[in-house]
């Protein structure tokens, strides 16, 4: 099924697209996913999934290139080791850094794919027994983890999440069919259109931010592509334990709803420094954290798909966007997909394998072309991206209303990011909101509004307990202070 020329063309084009977007500072992998949305809307589900998987794998690696060459991470997942990468470049070791980046990314991605292939079917067996109670707590746990664990500013992340949940209530409600927050606008009866909203939040807001930036063109160092793999094998053999550890860290962070590759990279970096024999070198040109974080962020990508495929709960903003697209195509990710449409599951597995195997040769070519890519004039690139955003939003319903919605979301995203409010939780709120509300209302109606029933089943009890425990995380320092002996 992946051997058709159409799917192979999708892999080739999306690989190039992901490498290009990831290598340009200011263009994130999530933005790339949002811009890819209008095209996946017109594709069948299988090539749409293949496109997203391939693009994201390449983009997460490609963010390492400008991190090393101009000290600006191409994507947030490369931010953790930007200083070390750039410092090593200044020492004349740019080729070693980029070679380590591409190989650790491929290894991390393959490791994550193997875990995905093993874990997802096992969890799907468990998920088949889930009822509305378990799904409610799972959605609540995912939303809570996004705010409490995966964010450095829980209050503001909570606000963003609530905005996303509010957007998910727009349209006809599931209980009485009553129109909520439509203000008489026909286009809002089906809710906030997901694709223009994503394009606005991640595409237009980035354009607004980049157009507002004083530095439009970047000074770039040149790389000797023929020397990229020199010394890589020796380096990776020296840090083989680090790679194994970081692969596990990356996958587990990915499984956590709302925590993406950037979180995985930072956690792997912190663990690497904790266990390193030379922690004083971190931040000043150490290759060890690059090995760790570079492995973790790509391993995390596959981990993000575990909750997305098994429960329909996104692991990060990219899988949230993919789930939104699948919903629009009438597909509901979950355990039944494993039985009714296994070809989609296998497509995701094989896409990850292919993308990560192709990452080494394509990554080599991207590194070779990096000087050229990074010199693309941004004063031409940004208007071009805006035009793609406008047409992409218009194309879904052939409606100027969607273009207006895109602009409004762009302003919202721009304002939020300028004030330290993360935008990614909005996506999670929009995707998980209907799951949360629907399962809550179904549970309440079938139990005649008996709230105790939410804890009546063992899995529901465990998930409920975990969710409530997550809410109590901010209170942990208070309890710790009270428990400390008086001095």
């Amino acid at each position: 099924m992946l051997a058709s020329w159409k799917v192979l063309a999708v892999i080739a084009v999306c690989s190039a697209y992901g490498l290009f977007v990831g290598a340009i500072p200011g263009l994130t992998a999530t933005m790339a996913a949002a811009l890819l949305l209008p095209f996946t809307f017109f594709m069948d589900p299988l090539p749409a999934l293949v496109a997203m998987v391939t693009m994201s794998a390449m983009a997460i690696f490609a963010g390492d290139i400008p991190a090393a060459l101009v000290r600006i991470p191409g994507t947030p997942s490369s931010a953790a080791y930007t200083d070390d990468s750039y410092a090593l470049m200044k020492q004349g070791k740019a080729e070693l850094v980029l070679g380590v980046d591409v190989v650790t990314s491929a290894i991390g991605g393959l490791f994550g794919a193997v875990v995905l292939m093993i874990a997802a079917p096992l969890l799907a067996e468990v998920a088949l027994r889930f009822t509305s109670f378990e799904y409610f707590w799972l959605a609540a746990l995912g939303l809570s983890a996004t705010v409490m664990i995966a964010s450095t500013a829980p209050l503001k992340a909570g606000l963003a999440l609530l905005v996303g949940l509010l957007f998910s209530t727009v349209g006809v409600d599931i209980t009485l069919g009553y129109p909520r927050f439509t203000f008489g606008v026909t286009e809002l009866l089906n809710g906030v259109n997901f694709i223009p909203a994503m394009i606005g939040l991640f595409g237009v807001s980035e354009v607004l931010r980049n157009m507002g930036s004083a530095r439009l063109n970047l000074p770039v160092a040149t790389v000797r592509a023929e020397a990229i793999f020199r010394g890589v094998a020796r380096t990776l053999w020296r840090y083989k334990v680090n790679m194994a550890r970081s692969g596990v860290v990356g996958v587990f962070v990915g499984i956590l709803p709302g925590a993406g590759a950037d979180i995985a990279a930072w956690i792997a970096y912190a663990i690497s420094r904790r266990f390193s024999r030379e922690p004083e070198k971190f931040g000043k040109g150490a290759i060890e954290p690059i090995v760790d974080a570079g492995t973790a962020n790509n391993a995390c990508l596959a981990g993000d798909w575990v909750p997305a495929l098994v429960f329909g709960i996104p692991g990060d903003s990219i899988t949230a966007i993919v789930i939104g697209v699948l919903f629009m195509k009438g597909l509901r990710p979950g355990p039944m997909v494993f039985e009714q449409q296994p070809q989609l599951i296998y497509a995701v597995y094989i896409s990850f394998i292919i993308a990560n195997l192709l990452m080494v040769p394509l990554g080599y070519l991207a590194i070779k072309a990096s000087s050229t890519m990074l010199r693309v004039p941004r004063n031409i690139l940004m208007p071009a991206i805006l035009l793609f955003c406008i047409v992409g939003s218009f194309a879904i319903n052939n409606s100027p209303f969607d273009v207006g919605l895109m602009l409004a979301m762009g302003i919202l995203g721009y304002f939020f990011e300028a004030n330290g409010i993360p935008v990614a939780p909005i996506v999670l709120g929009m995707v998980l909101g209907p799951i949360l509300e629907q399962n809550f209302m179904v549970s309440m109606i079938k139990t005649n509004w008996d709230v105790i029933q939410f804890f009546s089943r063992p899995a529901a009890l465990i998930l409920g307990f975990l969710t409530i425990a997550t809410w109590l995380i901010p209170l942990a320092p208070i309890f710790r202070a009270r428990g400390a002996p008086a001095t």
């Binding site: 209050l155 606000l159 949940l165 009485l176 208007p383 406008i390 602009l407 004030n419 209302m441």
Partner: protein, 153 residues
């Protein structure tokens, strides 16, 4: 567009109140149980609560960001560029049906690139080329009915 946390928090408190007020006319379910209003009200209440905490934190930190930001905002070329971006989108909404995609897209691209100091000749050539490519991709490959406007092909 940075403003103080106090203002951000107060904004969300106000937003939460508005959302709550908007749900007052929503009908209940049979038996008087909450229906369409339940979830929005929970969201509104939490939004007001979180917003209040952000506002309090802003007051405690004596965040005076908005005093600096507003004064310099319209002197900031980056902010003006952002307004041009929004105007470009607005221009598409208002002009595309009349002028058509090809002309409107070219106009929007040209004005934005000119604003970003791209030489006019290069901006014109790139604007035309990019618009034709995007038109080909969406209208011919994806068969999206982009408005023809004054140009009938």
């Amino acid at each position: 567009m940075k403003i103080s946390d106090t203002l951000v928090g107060v904004g969300f408190v106000g937003g939460g109140a508005l959302v709550f007020a908007a749900t007052l006319t929503y009908p209940p379910m049979d038996g008087g149980h909450p229906g369409p209003a339940l979830f929005p009200r929970i969201i509104a209440t939490l939004m007001a609560g979180f917003g209040g905490l952000v506002a309090v934190r802003g007051v405690r930190a004596r965040d005076a960001t908005q005093e600096v930001a507003w004064r310099e905002l319209f002197r900031n070329p980056g902010f003006i560029n952002a307004l041009f971006v929004l105007a470009g989108g607005g221009a598409y909404i208002t002009l595309a049906d009349w002028l058509g995609f090809l002309l409107t897209g070219t106009l929007v691209l040209f004005v934005l690139m000119w604003r970003l100091a791209v030489p006019p000749l290069r901006a014109g050539v790139v604007a035309v080329a990019l618009t034709v490519v995007v038109h080909g991709l969406f209208a011919k490959v994806l068969r999206v009915p982009l408005p023809a406007g004054l140009l009938w092909w």
